[in-house]
């Protein structure tokens, strides 16, 4: 095993340099250096992103778009610039296709509610996968309950790989929408979304891609994917909490009714009738999260400025290293072993409760997540109550992997006693 690991470790990525951009990583927890392996829950933020917030509030905080004064102009310009950055980041064809939301969950709710209310009818089916995050299940359940439609999951196998044959069979005339996770947050599986989109489009069915776990880790090109909608959260890609992106093809956004009403999304209001603003503003009611949108732009700049290929390779290196070392331990079983996989390692230990192990690792300063990771159907499918999950970002190190593995070893000793 050693030669292979050495080879793996030779990826040309200067992780120590990158780490120094993330102040939180220098933390000590219970007197021990923090090992942050809960990146799928939320990523840490580089100093430039934190500084952008302080800079905004210290020098040009103002409400945007309707103000004629300097601060408002400056804030509006900064805000609008981010829409262009996001457009370029996911290679959309127009910034009219970029809607700012609170996060992935809100984006999916917006689409389910707005698209669903006018397009779903009794007997219709919305296809999702068994490995969806709850945020890509519940909004569809809610609108389907209202419209008399049904949410049906595409099954997966024991390794956490989507059953594409079953997908073909499930893709009947009753299916009106397909909403799939690109990268599973609990298993790491990367789904063949391009193929799914092709097959769905062959039947004129629109497809939403939940890219919450994707955008920080690999390049996304919505035109190449040809997805109808793509959604993600800022907080999982180095940006602050409270901001996310909904991409939608112009034709869909134009046709969809507004979701929330209020300031910004209207063109004119009277009690005899209100006319809505054009896209994307039609979907942005109320004062937006200005500061966090601006910081999202800085996060995108940060990602763009780095060698993303090297970063991605480094993350996969860490994932492989962890998988190898953990699976070599007695009683440990990896959960989610798809070939196409992101830097997420989920595992269980025979005879050890996941939360107990997670708490033990916490006592050592190691942050992992435990439980169902908001994907209960995955756990149900695999017949387990939950997993311990270590999820990586490019700023993690091989030494941290070792500390995790050591911790798990000790934890097993203690907890299987």
């Amino acid at each position: 095993m050693l030669p292979e690991m050495t080879e793996i470790n030779l990826q040309p990525f200067d992780v120590e340099k990158v780490r120094s951009d993330f102040p939180v990583l220098a933390q000590h927890v219970y007197g021990k250096p923090l090992v942050y392996l809960d990146n799928a829950a939320t990523s840490q933020k580089p100093q430039v992103v934190i500084d952008a917030l302080a800079d905004y509030y210290t020098t040009y905080n103002a409400n945007i778009h309707r103000g004629v004064h300097f601060l408002s102009q400056k804030a509006s310009q900064a805000f609008d610039d981010v829409r262009v950055k996001v457009k370029e980041f996911i290679v959309a064809s127009s910034e009219r296709e970029i809607v700012f939301v609170r996060g992935t969950t809100e984006a999916i709710n917006l689409i389910a509610s707005s698209w669903g209310r006018v397009n779903l009818a009794a007997g219709d089916i919305v296809l999702v996968t068994t490995m969806e995050h709850h945020s890509n299940i519940v909004p569809w359940q809610m609108i389907c309950a209202e419209r008399g439609a049904e949410v049906v999951p595409i099954p997966m196998d024991d390794c956490g790989v989507l059953d594409m044959q079953a997908f073909g069979t499930l893709l009947t005339d009753r299916v009106k929408f397909v909403s799939v996770v690109h990268t599973s947050n609990s298993l790491g599986t990367i789904n063949p979304v391009k193929q799914i989109i092709e097959q769905a489009h062959a039947r004129n069915i629109p497809v939403l891609v939940d890219a919450a776990q994707t955008v920080a880790h690999q390049a996304v090109d919505v035109q190449e994917l040809d997805c109808d909608f793509l959604v993600f959260s800022g907080h999982k890609m180095l940006a602050p909490t409270g901001v996310g992106v909904l991409y939608g093809k112009e034709k869909h956004l134009e046709a969809m009714p507004p979701y929330q009403g209020g300031g910004e999304m209207i063109s004119s209001v009277s009690f005899s009738g209100t006319t809505y603003n054009e896209i994307p503003f039609k979907f942005e009611a109320g004062t937006p999260n200005i500061a966090d949108v601006i910081s999202l732009g800085v996060a995108i700049d940060y990602l763009n400025a780095m060698d993303r290929k090297a970063a991605a390779a480094w993350e996969l290196t860490l994932m492989k290293l962890t998988s190898e070392k953990l699976s070599a331990l007695e009683h440990v079983r990896l959960i989610g072993t798809a070939k196409e996989k992101s830097a997420v390692v989920s595992f269980i230990v025979d005879g050890v409760n996941a939360m107990d192990l997670g708490m033990f690792l916490d006592t050592l300063g190691i942050a992992v997540r435990t439980g169902h990771h908001c994907t209960e159907p995955v756990m149900h499918r695999l017949g387990i109550p939950g997993t311990v999950r270590a999820s990586f970002m490019f700023y993690n190190t091989a030494a941290e992997v070792d500390r995790l593995v050591e911790g798990v070893k000790k934890g097993i000793q203690l907890l299987r006693a």
């Binding site: 107990d356 033990f360 006592t363």
Partner: protein
């Protein structure tokens, strides 16, 4: 305190009804925990308590005894005798069992009115709350609530 005596006392308290009042028992726990330097030691001690907790008879692991709001499965069984209330509990989490052991140590064998009134300040004092109470993953608050509800129920039944 001499170790073997401490051990004995604890076992004693877990398995027969409490003869000490809640305040005294809380004080003892706080004393015990004051020996530990850090969270790792406290954690390990709670795990030990959990590993020693008498398992709950499978017949009591029913859905109506399951406590909602915990990441782990927790079952709580209560019965009364002589005007006092006794608790048995189990969980698939050893840590949760340890927490339950602490609660049982303090509350099991007490009078319903004392259980209802108990503020359980020891949870804060031993620094447990900061590690478990704020997260919905750990159902400590739910367990305490359930114990009090049982006490309330058995209290009114008794009247």
């Amino acid at each position: 305190m001499i170790a073997w005596w401490k051990e004995l006392k604890k076992e004693f308290n877990y398995y027969v009804h409490n003869v000490k009042d809640i305040a005294t028992l809380e004080k003892e726990i706080i004393e015990d925990f004051s020996l530990f330097d850090d969270w790792t030691e406290k954690y390990q001690y709670i795990i030990e308590l959990g590993q020693k907790l008498k398992p709950l008879d499978d017949q009591y692991k029913t859905d109506d005894r399951k406590i909602k709001g915990c990441q782990s499965s927790v079952w709580l069984h209560a019965y009364s005798n002589d005007g006092r209330i006794y608790f048995d509990a189990d969980s698939d989490s050893t840590f949760v069992k340890g927490e339950i052991a602490l609660l049982i140590n303090v509350l099991s064998g007490q009078k319903p009115e004392d259980i209802v009134a108990a503020e359980l300040a020891f949870i804060d004092a031993i620094g447990l709350r900061q590690h478990v109470a704020v997260t919905r993953a750990n159902g400590l608050a739910a367990m305490i609530k359930q114990m009090k509800l049982y006490a309330l129920g058995l209290q009114s039944q008794a009247v």
